[in-house]
């Protein structure tokens, strides 16, 4: 957006997010909530670094967790070095504070991407997806073999209350770690946003849109993809470094296909085409993964269904939806569009409730107990037709509203 914005307007998003980060600890208490917020911060950096590849650079990767995991291992080994150096107090590591470990993560991730990336970046598309899938599986399997580096199944653990202390911030409780995560998430998000404004950032968009034309304006696409690959690997490593400090343990799972899948999930649900899309995706998916399983046994099924719904009905993701509303608000015709959109949202809620009802009832039938019902204190009896009628009613209402709002929207445009 190179349109002439007054400097204040350009700074507004960053000031607001700084304000939000400062206010959160006042509104929230309890280490459990803080540890989820720290996880959200880590996932935001991880999802954004993934979108540097996919959303910005058009490169679909299935091995992004490799750089996240290697960054985490780099940082945890750094933490152990700091701990050991603490005894005699000499050497580089004795003066290296734990807070800067994400930089070690960044360096490890970027270095790994540098070593591996060149043959990968020959082509984007399916070839890139497959070769990163191969890399992901290789490194995940390899991580079981080198105990000194990866610590085998049990992983490598350490203690973050070592090394020099700055600003009196001892990383004891998740509440303290919050400040560490808040600092790094703001810095990383700003850095990744700034990257999109640099010439390399613009050209990475160009390589996404039309790699062939790029050659004819003097740039081999492979070089650009390689540089973007290294930068994305670095920021993934930074996220890994944050995770190492937050959990004080790094296990091979952080390298595996499931973690790469998580990055894809967050970026896609959040919206690939919008810079802040993956941030929205990271928050939603992290909350669903951590909290939902407290309330229902079918939490993984719900994550899958949300993902399917977004891919089918909102291909530009939640971020895309927000962007649509923002554009309409800026154009001033928000009021005209609102009923159509609200109608659509209502339809989604109704159908979702119907679906949740069906799944929980089936759970009641097949597993003989249902957590969600217990938590809500309702005792739906799966055999009584009344309950199923209610579910059918929800579906009917949902589809009705959906059609109505669709007609309304078509009438508008």
């Amino acid at each position: 957006m190179s349109l002439r914005v007054s400097p204040w307007r350009a700074l507004a998003p960053w000031l607001i997010s700084l304000l939000v980060l400062l206010v959160i600890p006042m509104l929230v208490s309890g280490n459990g909530t803080f540890s989820i917020i720290n996880l959200i911060a880590i996932n935001i950096v991880f999802a954004l670094s993934y979108n540097m590849l996919l959303g910005q650079g058009g490169m679909l990767s299935f091995g992004h967790a490799v750089f996240f995991g290697l960054g985490a291992y780099g940082a945890i080994h750094g933490m152990n070095l700091i701990g050991d150096a603490g005894y005699d107090g000499q050497g580089f590591w004795a003066h290296f504070p734990v807070y800067l470990l994400p930089l070690v993560g960044f360096a490890t991730g970027a270095l790994a991407a540098l070593l591996v990336g060149w043959p990968f970046c020959r082509r984007a598309g399916t070839a890139f997806a497959m070769i990163t899938l191969g890399l992901g599986e290789l490194v995940a399997a390899g991580s079981q073999m080198f105990p000194t580096v990866f610590g085998g199944e049990a992983g490598v653990f350490s203690n973050r209350m070592v090394g020099p202390v700055w600003f009196g911030l001892e990383l004891a409780q998740p509440a303290d770690v919050y400040w560490f995560s808040a600092f790094w998430v703001l810095l990383a998000v700003f850095a990744m946003w700034a990257f999109t404004r640099t010439p390399l950032g613009r050209l990475s968009n160009a390589v996404r849109d039309n790699a062939e034309r790029l050659q004819f304006i003097g740039y081999p696409p492979r070089n650009l993809r390689f540089l973007v690959f290294i930068a994305a690997g670095g920021f993934a490593g930074l996220g890994g470094g944050m995770a190492a400090v937050n959990y004080e343990i790094v296990t091979p799972e952080s390298l595996g296909l499931l973690t790469s899948g998580l990055a894809l999930l967050m970026a896609a649900v959040g919206g690939l085409g919008v810079f802040y899309g993956p941030i929205v995706g990271a928050i939603l998916v992290t909350v669903m993964n951590s909290l939902l399983s407290d309330y229902t046994d079918a939490s993984i099924l719900y994550v899958g269904l949300v993902f399917l719904a977004v891919v089918m009905f909102a291909p530009s993701g939640l971020g895309g939806g927000i962007e649509q509303v923002r554009q309409a608000w800026r154009r001033g015709d928000l009021a005209a569009h609102l009923p159509g959109w609200l109608g659509g949202a209502l339809a989604v809620v109704l159908i979702a409730l119907g679906l949740v009802g069906t799944i929980e009832l089936v759970y009641q039938l097949s597993h003989g107990r249902d957590k969600l019902a217990q938590v809500l204190g309702l005792q739906p009896d799966p055999s009584s037709p009344l309950v199923w009628l209610g579910v059918v009613a929800l579906f009917a209402a949902g589809f009705g509203v959906a059609r109505a709002s669709k007609n309304y929207r078509e009438a508008r445009s």
Binding site: T126, E137, A141, G304
Partner: protein, 313 residues
């Protein structure tokens, strides 16, 4: 030593053929429609579970036919109402759809049939030994599996090479738009191919279920290897997929059978290396599951179009 070689070859062939049955469906879908179907292994699992459920009522052989048909129907519904809708948003959207679909199918199976592996076994008479070699007997069922796999390969090869439908599919591989202009209903062709691919996966499930145990995690455990077979084999090449799956099956089985560590190999070649070090102590057996992915990375770097393919992915 001979015994190990004979058995490894037999086991390698069996595992390879099973891999082929599983990935042959994906060769069609992935190569022809360009759809990176992440849910392919989930349809394989559905095939096993449907065969288990139907088998209780109608017996093994009827289930062998019914289960793939059922899964084909499901595949058609998925393509018609899901994939087709997402198609115009490009390949990434299609991939994301199948990615979410795999989540949903795996969890639904877990929801309906519970988390304990179900005891889906081949009928008793098929488990009797077909022949006995070096005192170890080789069950009829394994022989039947190999036969079905080879039959499947021949049938598929015939269908693709010799029939009109096959010609349409091969044409749509490279020139999808033109096939449409020639008056063929390409969307229905895609639906047919997708359903047929899922049916092939289901058939592999019906056969593979008793061999590899039927449990909710079976799709996730197998997942990515399927892509290796298709890419290493070469896009759109059935023969390539056949060779690739045999290659992977044999390499993996022999790596396991030859219990030799890297240190031993180096020493055999003349290096004086401590065979129990952290790196040199790694045995071929522990590298075995990595071999398909080592193959994948090497093929994509040095021969992107795969063994037999003409197209680069």
């Amino acid at each position: 030593m001979l015994e190990i070689i004979v058995f490894s070859t037999l086991n390698g062939l069996l595992y390879g053929l099973l891999l082929f049955m599983l990935s042959s469906g994906l060769t069609l879908i992935f190569s022809m429609m360009g759809v990176l179907n992440f849910a392919h292994a989930s349809f394989y699992m559905l095939g096993a579970y449907f065969a288990y459920a139907l088998g209780l009522h109608v017996g093994f052989w009827p289930a062998l036919l019914l289960s793939p048909l059922l899964v084909a129907g499901l595949g058609a519904v998925v393509e018609r109402f899901g994939l087709r809708r997402v198609h115009e948003h490009g390949h990434v959207a299609e991939l994301l759809f199948t990615f979410g679909l795999a989540y949903v199918i795996d969890e639904t199976v877990h929801l309906l049939w519970g988390s304990i592996p179900v005891s889906y076994t081949a009928p008793e008479y098929l488990r009797a030994p077909l022949f006995s070699l070096f005192g170890t007997d080789y069950s009829i069922y394994r022989g039947v599996t190999m036969m079905i796999a080879v039959l499947m390969f021949v049938a598929l090869w015939y269908l693709l090479r010799k029939t009109r439908v096959g010609m349409m599919i091969r044409a749509a591989l490279t020139h999808g738009a033109m096939v449409g202009h020639l008056g063929h209903n390409v969307p229905r062709l895609f639906m047919g191919v997708f359903a047929f691919g899922c049916a092939l996966a289901a058939l592999a499930g019906v056969i593979g279920g008793p061999l590899l145990s039927t449990e909710p995690g079976m799709a996730q455990a197998l997942g990515p290897v399927v892509f290796v077979v298709v890419v290493v084999g070469g896009m759109g090449s059935l023969l390539g997929a056949f060779y690739a799956s045999l290659l992977i099956g044999l390499v993996q089985t022999f790596f396991v059978a030859l219990d030799v560590s890297i240190g031993d190999l180096l020493n055999a070649v003349g290096f004086g290396v401590d065979p129990y070090g952290e790196v040199t102590g790694i045995t071929l057996a522990s590298i075995a599951p990595m071999t398909p992915f080592i193959l994948l990375v090497l093929i994509l770097i040095f021969r992107p179009r795969g063994l037999m393919g003409e197209l680069e992915p």
